[in-house]
């Protein structure tokens, strides 16, 4: 085995996993002393060109509270056709289909190179992707025109069988019916009144008395029927929708001098969520909100319509002067949770010169895995290209997006999971491997990630629960299995299973090893996520202080120095860059709000919380490119002083 560097790189390439420590301290106490928790960055859908999915169901452990999936780490008795679960040690017989199994005839999931494997499974009827455009029409004519064009263009990018819907909002919210010939119909809602999902469905005429006899069966067929009026296959309504978009007018309600246009973003989102909730629960769907300004009325209002009242700034927030902030945030959070529970994600495309309320609305994307795009105008290439990239396709000519994913983590006994930080919500699944100590979104072993793309990365935090005086765990290594079930963009249901294992090390005797197994890049990002996660809910100074203390403790632990001699301080190579990352992190827009609007901060944090390691690192410490006539641009890593 080569260096840890290579090991790390290899693991990342194969499994999309980067651990902070690649040797795990064998006891809780030691783990705590390491300051940086045992944790990893996990990219569930890391693009693997060399990973063809297998077309069968995974084999599960029979223990009810385990249900781990057969993986290369399992011990297999080929003769007895029995395998032992490496998480719960339950011995399971192979299913009949595995009758021909032998040492030479192993299924893929038993091969070491398939520590990450993807299954294609049959789960009910395939449901098409759903794209629901929620369009602000309180835009300048030019912006609206550009947006209309972008949207029309996007229709050509969608898969023909995808369902598409359109909601426009301004002072009112209009849900457009797409199935009709002749007269174009839309359902209109007042922009100031929040409605329950049930009310919305009633008002949209989607309530059909469900036949009483079959409560257990998903009434999908029935619900598909009515929903069709608002969500139609692209190939059917292409022309219709293009015309409809073309005829979109700016909000006709007069905007008096000195006022902002009334924009009912909150209700529009609520209706979008409600509509999908009622018609396509637990189906992959994307709500795409295009907004050109802050919500100015109704629940979710961020600022009043008086222009003389500016939108909240960090200053206001700190002075508790932002009237609508808490209410709006709470509102959007509730909304985001509802959407996320149903597997629907929300994108926010906000293009305006002023703030648009991303601070309040960010959770919509953050919790559901949606995108946030912030621009100055819809008529900029920034927006247009970004928007186009949303629909970019992979080498299989499939969208780089997956929907309605659930990520489940299984650990061996010595390890428990504390939480995750990333575009996910908790599914509140308590299991034996759930730690009481929460970090990030915790207290669960399953998370819902409504929308995933190949680069979406979650930070997972673990806790070593092995007691100090207990022996190093059996087998010498701990294992973690990530099970990601999702709807592929081609509507297939897939399950990707990644099983990783690391060796246990006694911190006292093998501290050197442990130190050298430290992945400072991953650790920096993992700590940064923790810091940003805290910053989202706490005051800035506290987070910085916490970060500093963490850094100090780490240096204390691993640094070599003479007391009162700063110059004597040395850090090993594996840690050498870590302080620098922290330095940049401290002054990054993720933790510093100075000179950034709340919206911008939210925007940066949003992106930071989901990017993979490389991107994150760049975000923490911008790259400096050096251009010369004598060669390709040179990247000057980590050396801002050079500039």
């Amino acid at each position: 085995m080569a260096t840890f560097q290579e090991f790390i790189q290899q693991n990342e390439d194969r499994d999309g996993v980067r651990f902070s420590w690649n040797l795990w301290p064998s006891s809780r106490l030691e783990a705590t002393r390491l300051v940086v928790p045992v944790s990893c960055l996990f990219t569930p859908l890391k693009e693997r060109l060399d990973l063809p999915p297998v077309q069968y169901e995974p084999v599960l452990c029979g223990r009810a509270n385990c249900r781990a999936i057969l993986n290369p780490l399992c011990q297999v008795d080929f003769r007895a056709k029995i395998w032992a679960c490496n998480f719960c040690f339950q011995r399971n017989p192979f299913p009949p289909t595995y009758a021909g199994i032998s040492e030479v005839n192993q299924p893929a999931e038993l091969m070491p190179q398939f520590s990450t494997i993807e299954y294609i499974v049959q789960r009910g009827p395939p449901t098409p992707l759903i794209f629901l455009y929620v369009v602000d029409i309180c835009l300048e004519e030019e912006d609206l025109q550009a947006l209309k064009e972008s949207l029309q263009m996007s229709l050509s990018l969608l898969p023909p069988n995808a369902l598409v819907g359109l909601i426009t909002f301004g002072r009112m919210v209009q849900v457009h019916e797409l199935s009709c010939e002749g007269i174009s119909k839309s359902y209109v809602f007042r922009g100031t009144k929040d409605l329950s999902s049930k009310q919305i469905q009633e008002m949209l005429g989607l309530m059909k008395p469900a036949p009483a006899g079959q409560p257990g069966r998903p009434p999908a067929p029935q619900e598909v029927q009515p929903s069709c009026r608002f969500l139609q296959p692209v190939h059917k309504v292409d022309m219709n929708l293009t015309d409809l978009l073309g005829e979109l007018q700016r909000d006709p309600w007069p905007v008096p001098q000195g006022k902002r246009p009334l924009r009912s973003t909150g209700i529009a989102l609520s209706i979008a969520v409600g509509l999908l909730e009622g018609t396509f629960p637990n189906t992959g769907a994307r709500v795409m909100l295009f907004t050109g300004g802050p919500p100015t009325q109704g629940p979710g209002m961020v600022v009043g319509d008086e222009l003389k009242t500016p939108i909240r700034s960090w200053h206001d927030i700190q002075k508790d002067n932002a009237r609508h902030l808490k209410k709006a945030t709470k509102y959007y959070e509730a909304l985001a949770n509802r959407a996320a529970m149903n597997g629907h994600c929300i994108d926010i495309y906000a293009c305006a010169l002023d703030q648009t309320g991303l601070l309040e609305m960010k959770c919509c994307s953050n919790l559901t895995g949606g995108h946030i795009v912030m621009g100055d105008s819809f008529n900029t290439s920034l927006f247009k290209q970004t928007f186009q990239r949303v629909f970019s396709k992979d080498y299989n000519n499939e969208f780089r997006m997956a929907f309605g994913a659930t990520l489940e983590v299984k650990t061996t006994r010595e390890l428990k999971v504390c939480g995750a930080i990333g575009p996910c919500i908790s599914m509140n699944s308590k299991g034996p491997c759930v730690s009481e100590n929460e970090m990030g979104v915790g207290a669960t072993s399953q998370w819902k990630v409504c929308c995933l793309n190949p680069s979406a990365t979650l930070a997972m935090y673990f806790e070593v629960v092995n007691q100090h005086n207990a022996p190093v765990p059996q087998g010498g290594r701990g294992a973690i299995q990530f099970v990601t079930q999702y709807q592929h963009s081609n509507t297939q249901r897939r399950i990707r299973v990644t099983t990783v294992a690391r060796n246990w090390a006694d911190a006292q005797s093998q501290i050197q090893h442990i130190e050298s197994s430290f992945d400072q890049e991953a650790s920096a990002v993992l700590m940064a996520r923790l810091g940003v996660f805290r910053a989202e809910s706490e005051e800035g100074p506290d987070v910085l202080r916490w970060l500093d203390r963490q850094l100090i403790r780490l240096c204390q632990k691993f640094g070599q120095f003479n007391k009162d001699d700063p110059a004597s301080f040395r850090l090993s190579e594996s840690l050498s860059l870590y302080p620098q990352f922290m330095f940049h992190l401290r002054r990054s827009p993720f933790l510093q709000v100075f000179n950034n609007s709340p919206d911008e901060s939210s925007y940066y944090r949003h992106h930071f919380m989901r990017q993979d390691l490389t991107q994150s690192l760049i975000m923490i410490q911008p790259i400096l490119y050096s251009y010369s006539f004598y060669g390709p641009p040179e990247v000057r890593f980590y050396t801002p002083s050079v500039a």
């Binding site: 002749g182 119909k185 839309s186 209109v188």
Partner: protein
């Protein structure tokens, strides 16, 4: 005879009336119908007929019968009437039109006979004889026409009879009659007397000039004598008739005048008529008559010592009256002169006999006949000076007369010469028509002379007679139509044959129209019937009053320059010239002479109210209110009371200041408005400025008069269409959409606009609302569904309200698609509150006023604000909780209405219910916003489409004002206190109308808060500030000055019953919201009784308590009031749905006088008398089954419905002409349109129906009702003079009841 009987009988109202009245009426009718000539013949025949009638014996029989019996008799009589009136009328008409002389003759004879029979039968048998004789003599004297003369006399007498006969005249003639008849009658009389004792209906008018009539007295004398012995009276009555005839005969040429003029003549005539009338009035009447007579005409009295005198007096009165007459003439003419005129008429005639004649010939001709009938009666009644019409006879005659009337006019032409007339009569026999006119006319002239013999007054009498004669004639024998007249004739005939007749009377059912042809039939019935009941012909007849007014007032334009003039009736076609007071088309008052003090007002109990129709349409020959622009400062107003500049402002100090006519405050004249005064103190530019010389004009309002100090936007119309299952299925949706496509091109616009500036918007709804964006730039309309009905809002602004011209194609596309879109709808639930809110919000959003048209089909049970539940609970009907059913179920709509008014959102609601929809609640908004409510129960596309579309077109096209505020200012001393109509009031003075269309009427009641001065009168200024169709802010001002009086008599002389009834109805219908219906009814009755009792006590000449004396102007108050009481709203009937009642209640609340008049007293036109050549409609007949002839076809309209009643034995030719089939059985009762047949009659009839529809604000669906068919029950409901199935009192019963009430009050 008849008279006395009548008198005595009158006591026994019904008995006497029915029987006797019938007689007189018949007599009258005959008179009218059969014009002189006919008359003559008829008379004679009649005599026989009468005899037959005499069966009038009826009278006797009837007399015996109790009320119920009387009723029954009525029916009999009714039939009799029909015969008399209609039949005769028919026959005449038909004859006239197409029939040969022979036919006519036969008809005449038959009819006359019939009529006579019926009419006189009772009384007549004896009296008739006498009368006839008299007539014969006179007439004969004049000409051999004897018969004609007779007829003429008879006619007149009938006329007189009606009036006097019943009361006064009868007495004179009656005596004889009574005596004669006494035998039988007496008994009846007694009975009658018992019952009716006092019933005289006296119209105040009659000036007592009667004196001259002494002659009559003689006749009267007998009567008088008779009166004492009522029993005898009957005979006397019959006798009296003869006498009358005698009189007539004597005067005939002139005599008629005589008869008419001279009460005596009347007596005779009246004798005939009277008899009937008397019967009605019976002893009571007779007595009263006498008494009345005595009162009025001392001379006559003296002369008339006997009972009869009364009438004679009445007639006589004319003599004295002459002097008075003039005044009367004036007054009378203005008011319902004819009725009153009876007294006055006489006078007038007398004085200007020739003139009168002339007039008659002219326009009146047709009317004359009718008039004649009534007048006579009136005259009779009128005798008492103060109390114009004592007698009811008149009314009765009128009905019958109408038909005749038409004929008479024609004759009138001929009539001029008495001789001619006489000859005519003989001739006339052939044609009844001639008779009346001729007889009257001719007689008139001669009459005077002859009269002179008898009475100096006679001339006047004659004069009257003409009118009266008309009446009489009509009433009398001439016009068959006037069964009454016939009867009289019969009576006459009877008298002669007295003995015989009486026997004849036995034949009870003289009146069958069918039977009419055969003299015999008629003969028998009359008599018997007459006895029992009060003769319906003897009680005041609306038809008569209407016809009289037409005759007297339609020729001359009504100029408004004189303060306190009573305008012509609403039923009269007249032209108005604005000379300083508002046209009666804009304002009508209950009283044009207001009491000076509140004590007087309280005493009289006459409500002082104005019924205002601020934006009324005026006929093309009248000018619209002239525009006035006072510049940027706005209209010039009094500083204190803010009254607008008007003709009552007095300029002083050389024109530098003006003194307000309302509050007397002095205000500076702004420099730009200054003008010098001339020597009379008027401004020099007085006639150049409408506001100084006109009663109505229109100011341009400045921005100060606008909401928010901002000039208004042009209004908008929003159409909200129910597209739930039932509406779609019934075809309603497609009908509406189809119609709107064209209708939108006819939105109202100001006169100088080339295109309407009104914008339109569309909404459909069921449980949710669908708004449509029809912006012109769209290729396709866009539909926007609002399902959040709990919190309604308008989803779009731009594109919802559009200019029709610009968005034409998009709108058409929308209207094409709406029916398709909802063709498969399954939605059955609807909302309603949110629908109104939607309209309101849309207008709010557009910041304009406007009107929303809602087409709704079912009870709104869907979950939404304003959701209703079915609360139809028939068990509540008749209980104290009944009022709850008229109140809105929830207060939601009241609140909503308030908001609508604030925004100027007016709502027209079209309902298409298949079951209970709670009109009381749904109608709250329309009725508070100045909108209209339309209801089409069980809407079916095939049958109701035309009706609905017509209403819709009218609703959309009619001229309107928006966001209006009305303020009524008055002189110090009175104040506008209560308002009734479709509007909302947030304070006590401002009437807020979200919309005000040209048909909406507001009733305002004034109360005293101080004294008024006789000198200055009372001024009323009604100012309406509104936004026109083009968005201009305007102020329409109507000014009206009325007189003030310190004498109650003046008040009673200047009232308008139609307006009074309009007000009472509105008041009562409003009251049912908060009071048990029983209480409302009682208070109505009580108030009317008090009004009449006050009159009786303070204005009428002393007379027996048994006499019912009605002020001339309020002669019809009882009958109309009864109609109001019997209306579905006030008369609980489980067969009528709650919705219907609530609907009618709201409908009436904003009706104008013309509509309410016909609504409460439907117009019943005998189609068999339709003259294909003539422009005029056949004269209406009274709303009683008795007036329907089995052989006829009638058209009944009340402004809402139109019935075509086909008699079971209708003439085949008639059926062929109308339906294209000769078989009664083949007529499809479900048809709602008449087949288009290529014959003049069919064309004429269809034209006529169209013209009637045009007159009404709502389209009337035609229902064909076949006699004996199921539908007939519904039809009968509108025969308001009859007792109805659910227990509504008949006219006669109610009159009795009223009389009782009055007597109680007096004692």
């Amino acid at each position: 005879m008849g008279f006395r009987d009548g008198l005595t009988e009158r006591l026994v109202y019904r008995e006497s009336r029915t029987s006797r009245v019938d007689e007189p009426i018949q007599g009258c009718s005959r008179m009218n119908v059969n014009q002189q000539a006919h008359m003559a013949s008829p008379y004679r025949q009649p005599h026989t007929g009468y005899q037959g009638y005499p069966q009038t014996g009826y009278g006797g029989v009837n007399a015996e019968v109790s009320y119920s019996a009387q009723y029954a008799p009525y029916n009999g009589p009714a039939s009799g009437y029909q015969q008399g009136g209609p039949t005769s009328g028919y026959s005449p008409n038909t004859r006239f039109h197409s029939k040969t002389l022979i036919e006519n003759i036969s008809d005449l004879s038959s009819s006359s006979l019939l009529d006579l029979g019926p009419v006189q039968p009772p009384l007549t048998s004896e009296a008739p004889v006498l009368a006839p004789q008299a007539y014969n003599q006179h007439t004969q004297g004049g000409l051999q026409n004897g018969p004609p003369a007779m007829s003429s006399q008879a006619q007149r007498s009938p006329v007189s009879q009606p009036y006097v006969p019943a009361h006064m005249l009868p007495a004179g003639p009656q005596p004889a009659y009574q005596q004669e008849q006494s035998g039988a009658p007496p008994t009846s009389l007694h009975q009658m007397t018992n019952q009716m004792a006092g019933m005289q209906i006296v119209s105040s008018v009659p000036p007592p000039a009667a004196v001259p009539y002494v002659p009559p007295p003689s006749s009267q004398v007998p009567a008088t004598s008779a009166p004492p012995s009522f029993s005898q009276p009957p005979p006397n009555v019959t006798m009296s008739q003869p006498p009358l005839q005698g009189f007539y005969s004597a005067p005939l040429p002139s005599q008629q005048p005589f008869a008419i003029s001279a009460p005596p003549s009347q007596p005779p005539v009246s004798g005939a008529a009277p008899l009937p009338s008397q019967p009605l009035l019976s002893s009571g009447l007779a007595l009263p008559a006498q008494s009345a007579v005595s009162g009025p005409r001392p001379l006559s009295l003296s002369s008339f010592p006997t009972g009869p005198p009364p009438r004679p007096q009445a007639q006589v009165m004319p003599g004295p009256t002459p002097a008075t007459q003039p005044t009367f003439g004036g007054v009378v003419s203005s008011s319902s002169s004819q009725p009153q005129i009876t007294g006055p008429p006489l006078l007038q005639p007398t004085v200007p006999p020739p003139i009168a004649q002339l007039q008659f010939p002219g326009s009146p001709p047709t009317s004359q006949p009718q008039f004649p009938g009534p007048p006579p009666q009136y005259s009779h009644v009128s005798p008492p000076t103060s109390q114009p019409t004592h007698l009811h006879p008149c009314p009765a005659p009128t009905p019958s007369f109408p038909p005749v009337g038409s004929a008479p006019p024609i004759t009138s032409g001929g009539p001029p010469l008495s001789h001619q007339s006489l000859s005519g009569p003989s001739m006339s026999q052939t044609s009844h028509e001639h008779f009346p006119g001729q007889s009257t006319m001719s007689r008139m002239p001669p009459g005077p002379p002859t009269i002179t013999h008898g009475h100096p007054v006679q001339p006047e009498m004659q004069g009257y007679q003409p009118q009266q004669n008309g009446a009489f004639g009509q009433g009398m024998p001439l016009q068959p139509g006037y069964s009454g007249s016939y009867p009289r004739q019969q009576n006459f005939g009877a008298p002669p044959a007295a003995p015989g007749p009486t026997p004849a009377p036995p034949a009870p059912k003289r009146l069958d129209p069918d039977s009419i042809p055969s003299p015999q039939a008629p003969e028998l019935p009359p008599v018997q019937r007459t006895r029992h009941r009060i003769d319906p012909d003897a009680i005041p007849s609306p038809i008569q009053v209407i016809e009289d007014d037409k005759t007297n007032k339609s020729s001359e334009p009504f100029t408004t320059g004189v303060r306190g003039q009573v305008p012509p009736l609403v039923t009269t076609n007249f032209q108005v010239r604005d000379q300083g007071n508002a046209s009666p088309r804009y304002i009508r008052c209950t009283a044009y002479n207001m009491p000076c003090t509140s004590d007087m007002a309280k005493q009289s109990q006459v409500p002082l109210a104005a019924v205002i129709k601020p934006l009324a349409m005026v006929p093309p020959n009248e000018a619209l209110p002239s525009p006035v622009d006072h510049g940027e400062g706005g209209p010039i107003r009094c500083n204190r009371c803010k009254a607008y500049m008007c003709p009552y402002m007095q300029f002083i100090e050389g024109g530098r200041r003006f003194q307000c006519g309302f509050c007397s405050c002095v205000t500076e004249v702004p420099p730009h408005y200054f003008q010098h005064l001339d020597h009379t103190g008027k401004r020099i530019d007085c006639y150049e400025r409408p506001e100084l010389s006109m009663g109505s004009y229109e100011f341009r309002a400045t921005v100060d008069y606008c909401k928010n100090n901002k000039l208004p936007q042009p209004p908008a119309y929003i159409f909200l269409i129910d597209v739930s299952y039932s509406a779609v299925k019934s075809g309603l949706v497609s009908i509406i959409c189809e119609e709107l496509k064209t209708l939108l091109d006819y939105l109202p616009r100001d006169t100088n606009e080339s295109e309407s500036s009104i914008r339109v918007g569309f909404v459909t709804y069921n449980k949710v609302l669908h708004f449509y964006n029809v912006k012109s730039s769209l290729a396709q309309p866009q539909m926007m569904v609002v399902s959040d009905v709990a919190d309604m809002f308008v989803p779009l602004l731009d594109g919802f309200l559009v200019n029709v011209g610009e968005s034409r194609t998009v709108i058409n596309s929308l209207l094409d698609q709406i029916p398709e879109m909802f063709a498969d709808t399954r939605e059955t639930e609807t909302v309603f509150g949110p629908v109104i809110q939607a309209g309101l919000e849309a207008l709010k959003a557009a910041d304009c006023a406007g009107k929303v048209f809602v087409f709704h089909s079912s009870l709104p049970i869907a979950e939404a604000p304003g959701k209703l539940k079915n609360r139809e609970d028939k068990k509540l009907i008749g209980t104290d909780k009944e009022k709850v059913l008229f109140q809105p179920q929830v207060s939601f709509y009241n609140t909503l209405a308030k908001e609508c008014v604030a925004q100027g959102c007016c709502m027209d609601l079209f309902l298409f219910p298949n079951q209970y929809v709670d009109v009381a609640t749904l109608g709250v908004v329309p009725s508070s916003t100045g909108g209209s409510l339309y209801k089409y129960t069980y809407f079916q596309a095939t049958t109701d489409k035309v009706c609905f579309l017509h209403d819709l077109r009218k609703a959309v096209q009619k001229h309107m004002g928006f966001d209006a505020v009305m303020r009524v200012r008055t002189s110090t001393g009175i104040r506008a206190m209560d308002f009734y109509g479709s509007f909302y009031m947030s304070n006590t003075t401002d009437v807020e109308l979200a919309g005000l269309d040209c048909e909406k009427t507001i009733a305002v009641e004034f109360r005293h808060d101080d004294k008024l001065s006789e000198e200055t009168g009372a001024l009323i200024q009604c100012a309406v500030l509104y936004t026109s169709c083009s968005g201009k802010r305007q102020l329409r001002i109507h000014n009206l000055a009325v007189n003030c009086c310190t004498q109650l008599a003046d008040l009673y002389r200047n009232c308008e019953t139609d307006t009074l009834i309009n007000f009472f109805a509105k008041y009562a219908f409003y009251s049912v919201l908060n009071n048990p219906i029983k209480n409302v009814r009682n208070s109505l009755i009580n108030q009317c009784a008090q009004i009449l009792a006050c009159y009786r006590k303070n204005c009428a000449s002393p007379s027996s308590a048994g006499q019912l004396i009605l002020p001339e102007c309020m002669k019809l108050l009882p009958v109309y009031l009864n109609c109001v009481l019997k209306s579905d709203v006030l008369h609980p009937d489980t067969a009528v749905s709650l919705d219907e009642r609530a609907y009618l209640r709201q409908l009436v609340s904003c009706m104008d006088v013309a509509e309410s008049q016909v609504f409460f007293y439907p117009r019943l036109l005998p189609l068999q008398k339709l003259n294909v050549e003539s422009e005029t409609l056949p004269m209406a007949v009274r709303d009683s089954e008795e007036r329907l002839s089995k052989g006829g076809v009638y058209l009944l309209e009340n402004g809402l419905q139109l019935f075509l009643w086909v008699g079971a034995s209708a003439q085949q030719e008639l059926l062929q002409n109308i339906f294209g089939t000769t078989s009664f059985g083949q007529i499809d009762p479900n048809t709602t349109t008449l087949p288009v047949l290529d014959n003049p009659y069919s064309r004429k009839l269809r034209d006529m129906i169209e013209s009637i529809r045009v007159q009404r604000s709502r389209y009337m669906k035609l229902l064909v009702v076949k006699q004996e068919d199921k539908l007939e029950l519904i039809f009968k409901h509108f025969l308001v003079e009859d007792k109805n199935i659910s227990g509504g009192a008949s006219y006669v019963d109610f009159l009795c009841h009223m009389h009782k009430e009055i007597r109680q009050l007096l004692s």
